[in-house]
Amino acid sequence: CCSSSFEEMDVNEKEEFSGEKRNTSYDSADNHPSDWRIPGSNPVSAPFGSYSTENLITASCSPSQMMDSFGQTLWYDPTNLQAVGYGGFSGGHPSSSSSSCFRGNMDRSLEMGWSMPNLLPPKGNGLFLPNASSFLPPSMAQLPADSGFVERAARFSLFSDMVNQPLAKPESVGLFLEGQCPSTEVNVGVAHNDASTAMKGPNVRSSEQASKPNVSEDTQSSGQKGGETSSKGFDSKKRKRNRQNSEADQSHKSEEEAENNGDKKRNDEQSPNSPGNKTNSGKQQGKQTSDPKDGYIHVRARRGQATNSHSLAERVRREKISERMKFLQDLVPGCNKVTGKAVMLDEIINYVQSLQRQVEFLSMKLATVNPQMDFNLEALLAKDVRELQLRGGSSSATPFPQNMPMVYPPLPHGFMQQTLSSIGRNISSPLSPINGGYKRQETNGWEGDLQNVIHINYGAGDVPSDPEAATASLPSSNMKVEP
């Protein structure tokens, strides 16, 4: 059953995170936000229990926490692949629902990655792979690239890894990240040929330690050209996605690719800068792979594409950027319909600005509502919970305080409109997971805004019934607010 899930995941890969999957996840997520809360950790950890380190398990056990923080954000299936890259988690989830939790894992793993002591500092590249089992294939041509590429490729290698060796013990990805330079233009050895890696497991692992400093892009081009005719046939197959056809194929291919890679590797070692130096004849196998410590990414040219080193680097860079833009698409609400970098960047900018404005606004509100700022953590949290419960249940009208009619007219209509519009759609969605019951009662996000606005002005015009200190300050704030 593990392998079958991997198959599915590979298919997903092939489809390149096709849009429809995304949309379906979107819809389902919209209708059932609570589904995300389901401890998706179960499907995550179950197939890979033996595989994951304890860190992973702890991470996977807290997706619900993560989901809370992400509220309305919609995660979907393709992201789990990234999660593999980032968190060293297992391959994919066939189902979209679990993928949403998986995404939570991804972010969890992001944080884990940052906080885990045994991981290497990313040195400017924020994300890296904790405890992912990724071992690098025999050398490919190298390219300057970012660590994100490492993660992605490591992810792919991970897949093949698991296809063939589901119980392979995880190798710390830190291996090949060690070589990362502080600069962002880092060349990182990456698993590109998954099948070959899988088959050549032990060999590859041992040979990972070969060191290869500072091979420039030229090696990659040389490797490409060196691209002995036999390799041409492999180019199309060397696409990361077209892996996993059949084991037989893999075994067959892997050997040849090993040879090719071995050639390239030797090419790189011998003559980093001479394009003309190829050794087609290399029948040697299990040559030194790209060194993880190296910090180089090996990328192969696709069939029918320019093998110029610059264009290859460009392509890699573009791919990375577009991959990350996809994640941003998930993150920013309403961005899934938008295509094109410029428009999406626009949306992202707007979203970030709106979030920042929200923070300002909320801090202002907090300043007015709670002038003493004596936040009592337990009290507040308890009140929060209580508030949620109460909101879910109550609908009764209390005796209306006398001063309300007096206070209301001064409330500028324009202010409220502006408040509503500025907060906009962001209010309702973040509110919903926090105030579960709340949403039931007030289905309109606008009402939430109203509530916020009202309480700015009214505080508690009535007798505060809560014992907490926060409300004790409300009457004073009320005094302050009333004109």
């Binding site: 992001l110 941003l328 410029a342 209509h413 009535d462 019934s465």
Partner: protein, 189 residues
């Protein structure tokens, strides 16, 4: 992650509590926002560029707060580290590129592509302005990565703050009532 943020934020606010005399709303708002920002950035423990930039920015305004909130040696290194000077280089490079580009061919397709690229560059520049420390991110990939993380942190921050605001408000029965009253009044005109 929300809980951690909340705890750190509380810690920051505790620092301000003795200064309860800042009676002006703006002072309090600033205190709240600063402590929230530093809390958010400290959660990342200096691994992301934007968090470092944010901490350094607030350190200029309130060194004490930053030192208190970040524990350990990290605080010192973060505060004292100089911001990279990549920003200057970018402008120079861009200007020289512009000069070089004057002489290139002008086919229709190329022009369109060039315009698209220009637009994207403009937008990325806009993004750099918004994301803290964006100017110092030397490549687009890093920028987008940082943006991702920054957005996530912002969302957390907003969620926590909003829930606190909700919690700090009056009881729920009044809420429903007020809402109804207000909505009714507004609709009436």
């Amino acid at each position: 992650m929300k809980e951690e943020f909340l705890k750190k934020w509380q810690m920051g606010l505790q620092i301000y509590r003795p200064l309860i005399d800042n009676t002006s709303v703006s002072e309090r708002r600033k205190a709240i926002k600063l402590s929230a920002d530093v809390a958010m950035a400290s959660l990342r423990k200096g691994t992301t560029c934007w968090s470092r930039a944010l901490i350094q920015k607030t350190a200029t305004e309130d060194n004490f707060l930053v030192r208190q909130m970040l524990s350990g040696i990290k605080a010192e290194t973060l505060i004292n580290k100089k911001l990279p000077k990549v920003m200057c280089h970018r402008k120079i490079v861009r200007r020289s590129k512009k000069i070089l580009r004057r002489r290139q061919s002008r086919s229709a397709i190329e022009e369109v592509a060039a315009k698209a690229r220009k637009l994207v560059k403009k937008k990325t520049q806009g993004l750099r302005n918004v994301v803290p420390g964006g100017e110092f991110m030397s490549n687009d990939v890093l920028l987008i990565q940082e943006t991702l993380d920054y957005i996530v942190s912002l969302q957390t921050q907003v969620n926590v703050m909003r829930s606190i605001v909700d919690a700090a408000e009056a009881g729920s029965e009044r809420t429903a009532y007020y809402l109804g009253k207000l909505k009714f009044a507004i609709e009436d005109g």
